[in-house]
Point group: C2
Chain length 304, copies 2
């Protein structure tokens, strides 16, 4: 961890500029990885590209790169890590949108994968993207020990005690309803686990020591939750065009959300408090952590 190292993605104080540069690097890596899927059937390859390369905030890759650089990481070794996180996220959107799950027609401003292709292809796109994510991670230009640890981190965050478990609990809650404890479980797992893993995995790729990793984990947990609280608030306050997905859907589906349980103002206050707690955990880090600090603010202030 060294603030004296040059930033590979230069920081001018403007998060939008910085994040655009990172997104450009990440999108380039994603395009390159998905350009040649070997002997995959052309239709499957096309659908995987459709699902993974669409417009998107790339929050997870951006967090991973920010954490990587915050601990002194330099260069492109983080890109397979960032890309693998995005592939896992993209697969989860494709499966969550399926008729048997959230049954969504629109995602990122376009037809969902099963609408643009077909349901069987969408199942396989998700399955294929998950496998590709682990394969990419295993091939990252990092020491073997780091790669093994990264695979374990991603598997835990994406698996039954992580993202998949959160989605299962979310589906069940639509039938049974629930309380704040259940909502916390859903958010911590469904989106929180992968967001926290993004920060942790970026830091691990950057060679973080355990004290820095502990601070970044606490940071990641808080912004992970803040992200989802903000997402819930956006669903009730924004329109579909600016969201790029169907707005007001949570309410229509009787989804358990923070605004529904706490009211929109208290939900917004919670997001702000989590952001402050997150940023406080970066106090020991120098200017290299500026993008991470700015990301915490963006996550609660964003409009889509």
């Amino acid at each position: 961890m060294s603030a004296a190292l040059p930033h590979p993605t230069s920081w001018s104080g403007d998060l939008a500029v910085w994040a655009d540069a990172v997104r450009g690097r990440v999108n380039g890596a994603l395009e390159k990885r998905l350009a040649d899927l070997g002997s995959a059937p052309p239709r499957l390859a096309e659908a995987m590209r459709y699902a993974a390369l669409g417009d998107g905030k790339r929050i997870r890759p951006v967090l991973a790169v920010a954490a990587f650089e915050a601990v002194g990481g330099v260069g492109d070794a983080v890109l397979p890590v960032a890309g693998a996180l995005e592939l896992i996220h993209a697969y989860s959107l494709v499966h969550d949108d399926l008729p048997a799950m959230d049954d969504d027609d629109t995602r990122r401003g376009r037809p969902t994968c099963h609408r643009a292709f077909d349901e069987a292809t969408a199942v396989l796109v998700g399955d294929g993207l998950q496998a590709l994510a682990f394969g990419w991670l295993a091939g990252a230009p990092l020491p073997d020990a780091a790669r093994v640890r990264l695979v374990a981190e991603l598997a835990a965050a994406a698996g039954p005690a992580g993202m998949v478990g959160g989605q299962q609990a979310d589906m069940a809650a639509q039938e049974t309803g629930g309380d704040l404890d259940l909502l916390r479980y859903i958010h911590a797992h469904k989106t929180g686990a992968l967001l926290t893993a993004s920060v942790r995995m970026g830091a691990i790729a950057g060679g973080a020591g355990e004290p820095a990793l502990a601070d970044l984990t606490a940071f990641g947990e808080r912004i992970g939750l803040a992200f989802q609280v903000a997402d819930d608030v956006l669903d009730v306050s924004a329109d579909s065009a600016s969201l790029g997905k169907t707005a007001g859907k949570d309410l229509a589906q009787h989804k358990l959300t923070y605004p529904a349980l706490l009211g929109p103002d208290a939900a917004r206050d919670l997001a702000l408090r989590l952001k402050d707690e997150a940023v406080a955990r970066l106090a020991g880090m120098g200017p290299a952590a500026e993008p991470l600090r700015a990301l915490a603010v963006y996550i609660v202030d964003r409009t889509r």
Copy 2:
């Protein structure tokens, strides 16, 4: 690679006895791995156990252990590898059985996962089992370099240029029909890739040198194809009760199969020829490869 090392699973010349012992070790490892899924929702955990712990031949784990021992591997370090392969296989069955895919009601003599639970849970069971497989592999008690290589192997075999690609092509062929080249593609990918990977991954876990790995890869490719040809033959010749799944379904679904394209006798001859070619590649290996040789014979002679 040493035939002088003791076999951890003792070989008496009877494959059924040997395979039962291996299955016992593998099932024990699977049960232990699935007994505690951390903070996973209980219903998801139950459904994952239902999908992965049912009756099954455990062909992939048995092949992995046989290859591990053929190259001189001793002990239980192969069990996470064998278990991960079975989890990938189990996830693929759950997803292949979905209404949007093969729409099957019965699997391994019981209701399919989406019939016993529900469709959303079945999607998530498959997703969760895949993540668990990679996490288990990353935690195997093997050198870091071997673990990284095993993750890459499994990802390639399970992904879009492997199993998932084969399933996509199989779905498409039900609409369009196809020729022997397409059938070869489907079989080599849908089942062949993971069966070959089972042999390769067992050998890698056992510390195989590259010459032995090349022979075992050729063995795996041939028995992988022979397995599927035999499966096709069984579908037209066996009944549902002995198969544990719906028999005659390939024909009813106009699936492209070897018996349909070549006739049942020529298909059976092809399986036998592939088996002979496979066994020939083990000529340089000693008695430690006996279980592998017997498995090649079993794969074409089995009745379910």
